[in-house]
Symmetry: none
Subunit: 215 residues, 4 copies
DNA sequence: CATGAATGAGGTTTCATTCAT
DNA sequence: TATGAATGAAACCTCATTCAT
């Protein structure tokens, strides 16, 4: 699932490398998220992973690679979820499916707010290729929502000029729950936020009533 | 207009301090925005300001203070604009006023995309009090939109459950034009974005037609 | 009274220079003593003197000169006292005169412990010529005690092989009350210290009783 | 023997840390003593130790820690000597034992005059806990002399009101040979100083002859 | 494969001194 | 005479990375 990225390594056992990298991604995440990328030293990262600095560099080519692993690992969970769970919502009406999708996604963001905020702020520190890989994950999440919207348009439940933009709006508003916590926390609870934003979205894509009166 | 923040100074001439700080805010902005806060040295900043390092520290207590000055100076322009220009839109219908406000604001964001993105990513590097001062600027922009929306509610042009949330949505979507340029640039032009988002927003807050038919 | 030391000056009015230097010596003393020479900036010194940095440099050639002025001013008080007060003790018996001299001197040290400690620790920061000037003040204090001891030897009250050494012992033990406060404060009060040290000194220089009975 | 002080380290190999710190204490001593603490840069210290600056900071948390190591290492030699050698002087008469102790101690001071002076002047630059640790070493030296004096009092060889004060006097006069070299060097040789001071001390603590004739 | 000691460039900040006003 | 803005050298300290063990 993780976007494959060529990272320099001393080890040649690809299986070991992969498992160690996952270990690193998991262990370093908490530390990096808490302290920020620039304020965390490689020594600390290695310590948090339970390995020596030298060992860390066997599975990773640079400190930046750790950043990539952490963000990639974190966002991949979202991609997996959206790509796997959304198609299963097909048994419901498009409106209900969208409601559920938004709710699930926003709750997932809430469950790892810090990581989402971290990804927003630190992706800029990645080299172009790694950054592009991360942005692709984001694009896939948007695409997953886009498919949900497309179905609703086909059935006539939604009336949307530009699917991509609406999907993008839905996804980013979820992310903003993490990024602009300082503002939204004062606004209300997560469930209230989900309810209100969902309503706004649905109103914006609901087909005009006029159609009904015409028939 | 700038939020007053106690920054250590060697100089006691308040007028000079203020003018030099504005100079610093302007000159450092470009450099910081281009390279990022952590990747820019104080030496470079001083150079960009046309002063020696020692001189810089006459008007600023730390590197972080420069960051604050830059972000504060940049965002203050937005606050000034929203607080001054929006009330003058009162002669138009609420809908038209909102259309114009959104358009103006989004175009302003587009005009200093880099700074907006920078503010989003680097505000985290500020100490609590400075960060809070910056976030207050953001809150004031939201509040300015909130007032526009409130007027529309009074006249019955808008039907909004939660003014703050809608205002927040409007503002953040403008900021996202800068922050998620990498995504939206592929979507379309700024004017297209303004048109589409405005439409989505208006649809979301337009009062239900049913009401009219009922009467 | 102050040892004249050629210090570079911009001003040519010798009277003004002298009065300003005394002002500096007095005002800077407290600050320097409290913070230490290296940890005090010229800016702070100027501030404590109620003048601008530039003005300070009109009457002083360097920061080090301020250190010299402070120490010189402080120690000169001791010299003045010893050289003026001791001769007047001549009406008493040599033993009593010495008792009084020691008491007065030690009490004086106690009254400006901080400055005495400061002088001990920071004189090393002076250039050779200035340092030598300060050490001369010290020598004059020793010499004052030496004269008291000499009189006692003439009268047969004291039996001393080496006047200089005993005088030096007396003076340094007074200074140690300031320098080794951390030790002696636990030992007892100043008056107890004076009493005990005086007794030890007197026993060390009292002529052997045997001699008299022998004759 | 060295007072254990928690100093930050990157290394966890306690043995290596200890040996490197001793190396640092030895190599830095000469340089620091010659130039003074404030006038010596960390770069110079590292150079004198034959290591890079980074390496130095593996074994030391700050420049101040180096100062502590140097003073602690230097004074510990005195403590060891006094605590180990003095008890072995027990076979001699108390008077003779004291004579020897004073002689040995003063000669030891003479052998590392510079370091003793350095310790006197720079201990003030240590943080409270480190300073206290150094002062404890001093107290132990005084205590060693105190025990010698106590034995003499038991045997009736000495008559002393206050053991601590006399011991303190003995120790400080040794230190003053280093601290006030500029004065005492003109007075005479080390051996002359030892002889004269010893005589003064003994006269001050010798029991009055009268007592003996009385019995 | 695992380790962590070693490195030195480069980071931010301070400060004594000068000189134009 | 009085001022303090300006300077840049140099201070302490951190850190990503390498490589011998």
């Amino acid at each position: 699932m993780h976007t494959e990225q060529p990272i320099r390594t001393y080890s040649k056992d690809q299986g070991l490398v992969a498992s160690r990298r996952e270990h690193i991604a998991k262990c370093a995440a908490h530390l990096l998220v808490k302290q920020g990328y620039d304020r965390t030293s490689v020594r600390e990262i290695a310590g948090a992973c339970g390995m020596g600095m030298g060992s860390l560099y066997h599975y990773v080519g640079s400190k930046e690679d750790v950043l990539y692993l952490v963000i990639d690992h974190g966002l991949s969970r979202y991609v997996e979820f959206c790509e796997e769970a959304f198609p299963k919502l097909g048994t419901n009406s498009p409106t209900e499916a969208l409601r559920q999708a938004i709710g699930e996604y926003y709750r997932m963001v809430d469950g790892s707010q810090d990581l989402m905020l971290f990804a927003y702020q630190e992706t800029k520190n990645l080299r172009l290729d790694a950054r592009e890989a991360i942005l692709d994950l984001d694009r896939r999440i948007v695409a997953a929502f886009e498919r949900l919207l497309a179905r609703g348009c086909t059935t006539g439940d939604f009336s949307i000029d530009n699917l991509t933009l609406v999907a993008h709006d839905i996804v980013t508003r979820g992310q903003l729950w993490a990024v602009r916590r300082w503002f939204l926390r004062k606004y209300g609870s997560l469930e209230q936020y989900i309810k209100d934003e969902t309503e706004l979205i649905l109103r914006a894509i609901r087909p005009p009533k006029v159609m009904a009166s015409k028939g």
